[in-house]
Amino acid sequence: MIRPMMRVNTAVALTIALASLAACDQLPGKPALRVAPPTLDTAAGFAGFYSENCAGCHGADGTQGPARPMRDAVYLAAVPDDAMFNMLRNGIEGTRMPGFGGNRITAVDDAALTAFVKGMRTAWGNASATAPTNIAWAHQPGKADAEHGRELFDARCVSCHPRTQPVGSSATVSGSVTDPFYLRLVSDQHLRTSIVFGRNDLNSAPANMPSAAGPFQDGNGQRVDGALSSSDVDDLVAYLSGLRSSPLYAPPTSAAQSKDETK
């Protein structure tokens, strides 16, 4: 009687062993099949990289950041691929735009940046978008008439951008762009980009920064129509650029008074 019993036992044990072997395939630890994450040149892959690396300055969804919006089809169409690539790889020297490529440890390699530029165009670009004025994006250092720039500034910009702007007074939010403190922080390219493409994502009441197509305001706040020409933009940039070296004016807080406060 013992023999058949043992056979049954063996059979049961074998079944259990086989079943648990089969069950092994369903153990909770078994990793799920890997789904390849989206690559950078797709809209989804691009968005991930953007929110990791750009959103802090250029805005969560490509607008409404302290740096200029990237979700701007007209702007994207105007910037050539290689210029965009260079800015991303090396940053813009002397400004707050960091580089993401090159030799540093966390660097992103060139192929990835190229893919990213492609992805950005797929997500936010539109090849046929053109600025009404068709003024080239790139700033070309060269001959420009700063004096004419100054006249233009007086005729079209100064009522929104008064030359002396009380810090923090929100009377004129556009603020002074002639302030050397400000000018020393931005590149000529930034000045040009701002003038050519304007900026309308921050809802700057009472009026947004117009593109080169206008309309502008004269010294008395009256509307001035008429687009700027390419050389007008050059002259304006030359004028603003020349103001960088003017002396810095510090706010007149008295050191003595503030020393008392901290005590």
Binding site: G29, L33, L40, N103, I105, V173, F181, R244, P247, A250
Partner: protein, 506 residues
């Protein structure tokens, strides 16, 4: 010559071998040597460490048959092991968890030896070998996580390289030695592969050999008793007498406990591996896909936290000077405290040290897991500022907001809860500090904040303070005369520019 039975043939062959190698003598000695009767469950951790090491060797060899140690294929080969090799994922899971278990057991073992003062005469070198084994094991764990060649591996390498970089004078060279070039590349992986499968396991085996040999030679220590200090002149004689009189053979008495404990540990390991599965590989190291928040494996989390919490000014010193000194001290312990009481009750300082270290590492690990406080290393590029703090701002104030990101203030300071939590939230800073106080805080630092005076140009300072002076917590009234009220009209005296050359040329 008697009749040749199979049994007899085997016996003869073994005898032949023993005569020439003495292997059985060694074996007999290790199996039946006498150990103190009172050496009970406290003594199982060393064996458990070794069991996990054996598992590492076995699973490691099998993994090495599938793993491709090249930058292009490493990751894919791990995915292949996970998905195609039968039970490959289980193999990886066992290797990964057993590595953690080995480190854990090793630390517990070390702690036990330290608390019981077993490192004292005559077991000094056993302890020293143990210290080196500890380093080797941690090295294996670190290089092992590099083998995954995913974003976490990159993180680990990046931190390692950054630490090397700080070595004065030879930083660059050290970094090049570590990475096999100026940056992380295929050469780095080859280098760490060689370390992980040849150099470190080889060293570990040699050290374990010596460690075990010394254990056999010196015998394991008895349970410490208060009032029975170690006196080198008489210790050995007394120990031998005692173990001879009251000791029990290692097998089966002590070995049984080892086996029970190791068996239980093995079952737990298999359970954990089956339940939690293999570690990683995480995100691809493909530079076109960027990992959000890489973290080191659990074992190194406390270092990660410590790095994040250290005041930056002291980091270089702490990173470069403290580990060598600490390790040298650890190895020197048996020579400094060579004799005397072994019982923990007579050595309160040692107990206190262990408790403090465990608490510190435990807390740091916990912080590393949650790390709500740590600098958010990527906040400066990834954390946007809510639009209400950007609307109606002047160009200079917007530049200040940019500088706030660019100078990585955001990694430690939040605005409206978004950003690092290491420094105070600055949403309403303008109601708390005046313009001058803001200036001074940035220039001179203070609290845990570094001084930025030398790092920022006067334009950058001006922009930053202009931006901060607009942060009024959504129209809160100033409690002090804050920067809001003080935002002065900027029309007065020219200020000497601290650093005109740096700013003026574009």
């Amino acid at each position: 010559m008697s009749e040749m039975t199979p049994k007899r043939a085997i016996f003869d062959a073994l005898n032949w071998l023993d005569e020439r190698t003495g292997l059985f003598w060694i074996l007999r000695r290790s199996v039946f040597h006498r150990v103190p009767r009172n050496a009970k469950w406290w003594y199982v951790f060393g064996s458990a460490t070794m069991m996990f090491f054996t598992i590492q060797i076995v699973t490691g060899i099998v993994l090495a048959m599938f793993y491709a140690p090249s930058a292009a294929q490493a990751y894919e080969s791990l995915v292949y092991i996970n998905e195609q090799v039968p039970f490959g994922w289980m193999l990886r899971a066992m290797h990964g968890w057993s590595s953690n278990a080995m480190c854990l057991m090793m630390l517990v073992h070390m702690m036990q030896v330290f608390l019981h003062g077993s490192y004292k005469y005559p077991r000094e070198l056993t302890w020293v070998a143990g210290v080196f084994l500890c380093l080797t094991t941690l090295g294996l764990a670190f290089t092992g996580q590099i083998m995954r060649w995913d974003a976490d591996a990159y993180w680990g390498l990046g931190i390692g390289a950054a630490i090397m970089d700080r070595a004065p004078g030879i930083g660059n060279q050290l970094r090049a030695v570590m990475l096999g070039g100026p940056q992380i590349s295929g050469a780095t992986l080859s280098r760490f592969f060689a370390l992980h499968v040849f150099i470190l396991p080889g060293s570990a085996i040699a050290l374990i050999g010596f460690h075990l040999y010394s254990v056999l030679r010196q015998g394991i220590s008895e349970m410490p008793k208060a009032g029975e200090p170690v006196v080198p002149a008489t210790y050995r004689k007394e120990y031998e007498e005692r173990t001879h009189k009251t000791g029990v053979p290692f097998y089966p008495d002590a070995a049984r406990r080892d086996m029970v404990f190791c068996g239980a540990a093995l079952i737990v390991l298999i359970g954990i591996a089956a339940w939690f599965g293999p570690m990683g590989p995480g995100e691809l190291p493909d530079p076109t896909i960027i990992e959000a928040s890489p973290r080191p494996d659990g074992l190194f989390l406390w270092i990660y936290s410590a790095l994040a919490l250290l005041p930056p000014a002291s980091e270089t010193f702490l990173l470069l000077a403290v580990p060598p000194v600490a390790i040298a001290f650890l190895a020197a312990i048996p020579f400094i405290f060579n004799r005397g009481e072994r019982a923990p009750s007579q050595r309160p300082v040692s107990v206190l040290i262990v408790v403090l270290l465990c608490t510190a590492i435990g807390v740091l690990t916990w912080l590393g897991m949650s790390s709500p406080w740590g600098p958010k290393m990527d906040a400066w590029t990834s954390t946007p500022t809510a639009v209400q703090y950007l609307q109606q701002r002047t160009p200079l104030e917007l530049q200040g907001a940019l500088e706030f990101q660019f100078a990585q203030c955001r990694n430690c300071h939040a605005i409206d809860d978004a950003g690092g939590q290491r420094g105070p939230d600055l949403t309403d800073v303008a109601t708390r500090l005046s313009w001058d106080q803001l200036m001074r805080q940035i220039q001179q630092g203070g609290g845990n904040m570094p001084a930025y005076g030398k790092a920022l140009s006067s334009s950058e300072m001006q922009a930053l303070v202009a931006f901060l002076s607009t942060l009024d917590g959504g129209d809160l009234a100033a409690t002090l005369p804050g920067a809001l009220e003080q935002q002065p009209a900027r029309d007065a005296v020219p200020q000497a520019d601290a650093n005109p050359a740096a700013n003026s040329s574009r």
